[in-house]
Symmetry: C2
């Protein structure tokens, strides 16, 4: 093992420079214009995997290509080794609002131990750490105790539209003992974490259509419904005064938190004051009866992600807008099925929408929540590797984000997913000034080095 750790130590400066090259590619999957950048990102990554000693190919899908990179077949071994997948994504969130970035989102900037760029923590930096750990094995000649396949896709930020189909079509090749994903976070730098649950998600757009065109509010205002007001009144009724989603039957299938889980939550090192400071708010808000950690990781939500209507430029424009639109995502708790939640939201909105306007709903992506038992052999191996890599006692986490594909790994490959996140709460994922912590980058590589030893120990 020591040559692996030495190799990692010796090559940090080069690794950071390579990660910066990777971060310069603006692979925004939500925006059509970035299609060429996504292909360039996949190409760059595949080339880089080859340089690291892996056998890498770009695999076509109906969307962006998937990079598959596996460790070379060993000539001397007839015994089947365990096989693990490492999943990540090379696509990134849109960088808007651009004016809030202190440096351009696709021109990486290092300040102390922080590397700023869109995609730094979500997810390029995190899967790059695993790639470097494997490079260390392959280049230092220490034999890996397992086979590894990297599956790095380009559509995670738009719902992993084509990955499930790909998994099904390549089931034999991807059959594995477990999947490792570093795309979640740690509560702070001193608490490495294994995440055992994720929230699900449904995304949709609601548009309220009113008059055929924007109208002069002086000439017509008062005799025609204002779509922006109708939308506001519709959205207002989606939440009650106790911070709960007010859509009937929304909570019906939510699996309640166990007493054990609520105790574990209390052990986590997050104070309300720190959270308020981190978010820049004077008061937190949330569903009554749950702690902030529970609210943001274990409870479902109804979140408005964007509002658009009428005139948004300088000054004022005295119109009744023709339409108003909200982009919405609901985070889902384990137990809630995306299609059912989508239906009850649609039915309720249609029911309460006034007859003076027309409601249009467009469905976006969706994913179930994920929950795995945190006490099995894989989890124990992961906790051991975390302990050795970080020299700290790890914690167990639920996380509020969604990694849609984790359920597919379970369904299609029958494999559990170990969520070993390297992100920090102030990494600004999905926000301006996204960053990745370079200590976590290095410890993440060490995690990779130890993880394959620990995971392979119990197998076969």
């Amino acid at each position: 093992m020591q040559p692996v750790l030495d190799y990692l130590k010796r090559n940090q400066a080069r690794f950071v420079a390579e990660l910066c090259d990777y971060l310069r590619l603006p692979g925004v999957s939500a925006q059509e214009k970035h299609k060429p950048d996504l292909h360039a990102s996949a190409q760059w990554l595949a080339n880089h995997c080859r340089q690291a000693g892996l056998v890498a190919t770009l695999r076509k899908t109906e969307g962006n290509p998937i990079v598959i990179a596996r460790t070379p077949r060993r000539r001397d071994s007839r015994r089947r080794q365990p096989h693990f997948l490492v999943y990540g994504h090379y696509d990134v969130q849109p960088p808007d609002p651009l004016e809030l970035w202190q440096s351009p989102p696709f021109e990486p900037r290092i300040d102390g131990r922080s590397l700023f760029a869109r995609g730094a923590t979500d997810n390029k930096g995190q899967h790059f750490a695993h790639l470097k750990a494997v490079e260390a094995y392959l280049k230092s000649g220490v034999p890996l105790p397992c086979d590894l396949t990297f599956v790095i896709e380009g559509e995670e930020e738009v719902g992993s539209r084509h990955l499930a189909k790909f998994l099904k079509a390549n089931r034999a090749e991807l059959q594995c003992d477990a999947v490792v994903v570093s795309d979640t976070g740690m509560p702070d730098k001193d608490h490495p974490a294994l995440t055992y649950a994720l929230r699900g998600i449904i995304a949709f757009e609601v548009t309220i259509h009113g008059p055929a065109r924007d109208l002069h509010s002086g000439i017509f205002g008062g005799a025609v419904e204002n779509p922006a007001m109708a939308l506001s009144q519709l959205l207002a009724r989606m939440r009650d005064g106790k911070g709960r989603v007010a859509i009937p039957h929304f909570y019906d299938d939510v699996r309640p938190l166990t007493a054990y889980e609520r105790r574990e939550f209390k052990r986590l090192p997050v104070a309300g004051r720190d959270l308020r400071r981190l978010l820049g708010v004077k008061r937190l808000w949330g569903e009554q009866g749950f702690s902030a950690m529970e609210q943001r990781s274990a409870r479902p939500t109804f979140e408005i992600n964007g509002l658009t209507s009428g005139y948004q430029g300088e000054g004022s424009k005295t119109i009744v807008p023709a339409w108003a639109r909200a982009k919405i995502t609901c985070r889902l708790a384990p137990g809630q099925r995306p299609e059912r939640i989508r239906k009850i939201v649609r039915d309720y909105m249609k029911k309460i929408c006034p007859p003076t306007v027309r409601l249009e709903m467009e469905a976006g992506h969706g994913a179930e929540a994920y929950l795995m038992p945190p006490t099995g052999p894989h989890a124990r191996a992961a906790l051991a590797a975390l302990r050795m890599a970080f020299h700290r006692e790890p914690v167990l986490l639920r996380e509020g984000g969604s990694i849609p594909i984790v359920n597919e790994f379970k369904k299609v490959l029958g494999a559990e997913t170990l969520l070993l996140g390297l992100g920090l709460p102030d990494d600004n994922a999905h926000s301006p000034n996204e960053k990745f912590d370079l200590d976590n980058f290095e410890n993440g590589q060490r995690l990779g080095a130890f993880l394959w030893q620990e995971l392979s120990r119990g197998e076969f």
Copy 2:
């Protein structure tokens, strides 16, 4: 008089071409980048007034210049003639949304008897008709029975910020017997109208500030207030289920409609079906207990003109937005004072805004409503001129739009304003595909020709 009418008839084609030249100047007063276009518009207009035989000057203000153009002093007259002002504005509304225009907003297009361009009906075409009537007098040698001064400003669409000060500073020069404004409308082409009342207005922006930056809705959603939801819930409470503004004391000072006025409203030739078709809605909406005509011209409103929050691009972005903003205007009825309404709106919003977010209100322009008795000598003269110009029986109207400066003419110059609008309900003022009817352009010129005779008859 006949030479004046003949001159008008003979020169229609040229007049239309000249109006097209005027409409090519994109004088959008709400947008800083159009400053040079506003100056070019004023310059163009002053030159054109000079060619028509008027004495025209550009007068500086702290904002856009005001064009003053007066009839030349008569050498043979020692008797003081009556003096009337003609008010208009050369600035126009922003043309957005551009993609809904069938032809570019600043490239005039003629289709049948419609002239399409931003500013065609609001207000270039309308004051241009008056200018052409005076040109006809001056060029045909028929003596005008009065002195006339055109006051054409460049800030009407942003609240006429500097005109009141200009009127005060030039009170002696502008002292007059009445003001004529063509910036309102007719119920249809067969009903020329004298408008005796206008609604007032207040404009403001409400911004709800939440977290210091856009947040990942998976990592933080559920434990922090969503500003777009807080804004929706705030706005939703501004209106009740009966179509009334739900802000306490909002209606306190509204002067009720008299029985006579409500009878006059019923005479107007507007059917609900026509209005629904015109607006492109299946059902009308409005304050219970009032007709559509009353709702849109005599009753106050709370209108959302624009909504902005979070991500508005293609696809979805899973964030809790840092802020959400609404652009709002309230139309005011006679009796309501803008400053008082602004205060009660602000007080109520502050009162009900939850402590988990911060409310910011920015005040925009404001103007009182206007009401004049429709039975005096000026009104009778105007109705007579309308009858002769259009060969139709005119109607009396209240109009829902705001012409802030009308109250200033009353306050500063002591003069009543005759609102003799040439716009039609389908002119798309403030909307894409704004147009001006060329028959109304011609009849508007004839109106000018008759009006100065009728108005001067009763004076002195």
